[in-house]
Symmetry: C2
Subunit: 159 residues, 2 copies
DNA sequence: TGTGAAATTACCCAGGG
DNA sequence: CCCTGGGTAATTTCACA
């Protein structure tokens, strides 16, 4: 799949765009030490290669009524492909589930769930456990979001 | 401050922009049933009100060498303000830490950590535990990211 | 809100180092 | 693979009705 070697300039571009995608190409070019055209071409390439997957607006959860975030740890009843398939069938039905990870260790799946409040979570919880048989479910409630970023760490220092 | 009541159109705008911020105002306007200018003004207002916090590019972790995601659960040595202050002082020093939550229950803090591989994580782990005294730290390793979205659930159906 | 026009910006050609 | 410089189309931005 083409060259996956990102040089320092590519990493700088990603670093900038992961923090602020409104940056005009002209300014981006200046920051990474390039002129417009080659900079723009690199951005196109990064998008075509699927390295930049999308550009999105981030929204303050509280301001749109998302008052509660919960991490839900799930243990499967058994470790069969059937259970996993069922799990994957059920998950998309819940818009509250924003992230899903298959884990190593005791916990089989970890969900990040965004709801308005505790009663909404309870409703979600009851529906989920009705739709999906689990050996065990543990909910861990977020009291405060101390930090959150979509910008992944990327080394812009070394060549 | 100001009006925090988002009507159906505002919620539709947010819904669209949380999924794709490249959408031109003209098309966005069409989708939410408005003409350009009022739609644009609403977007401006949503930004001014801090509801839209930023616009960013999302990047495929694997393609930039982030091969391992880990959730790190931390129990404080004690529950003093001093420990929390120290915690907050230490966290920003680690670029690998992308999310930090203060939790209810046994776990005091939950971190989401992005690193290249297990040896990088081990290095991070050793440094973190050296910088921060903890009663207990438990690392839970992500095997597979099943789903991940930055788009929060928002009701676009009801008025 | 809507219409229209100006300022920015994205996009995409050349030719040359 | 970089730069300069141009040109067009698209978009944002902001007059004003």
């Amino acid at each position: 799949m083409s060259t996956l070697t990102l040089d320092r300039i590519d990493r700088k571009i990603l670093h900038e765009l992961m923090h602020d995608a409104t940056l005009p190409v002209a300014q981006l070019a200046e920051r990474v030490g390039l002129s417009q055209t080659p900079c723009w071409k690199r951005v196109q390439k990064l998008e075509a290669a699927g390295i930049i997957t999308r550009r999105v607006a981030l929204v303050d959860p509280e301001k749109i009524g998302i008052g509660l975030m919960v991490f839900v740890e799930i243990e499967a009843t058994d470790h069969s492909p059937e259970w996993r398939a069922e799990f994957r069938r059920v998950v998309p039905r819940f818009t509250e589930i924003v992230e899903v990870y298959r884990m190593a260790g005791d916990i089989d799946y970890l969900l990040k769930v965004a709801v308005s409040d505790m009663s909404a979570f309870d409703e979600f919880y009851l529906e989920l456990t009705r739709a999906l048989p689990c050996r065990n479910i543990t909910s861990k409630f977020v009291m405060e979001t101390v930090q959150t970023t979509t910008a992944l760490p990327i080394d812009v220092a070394t060549a």
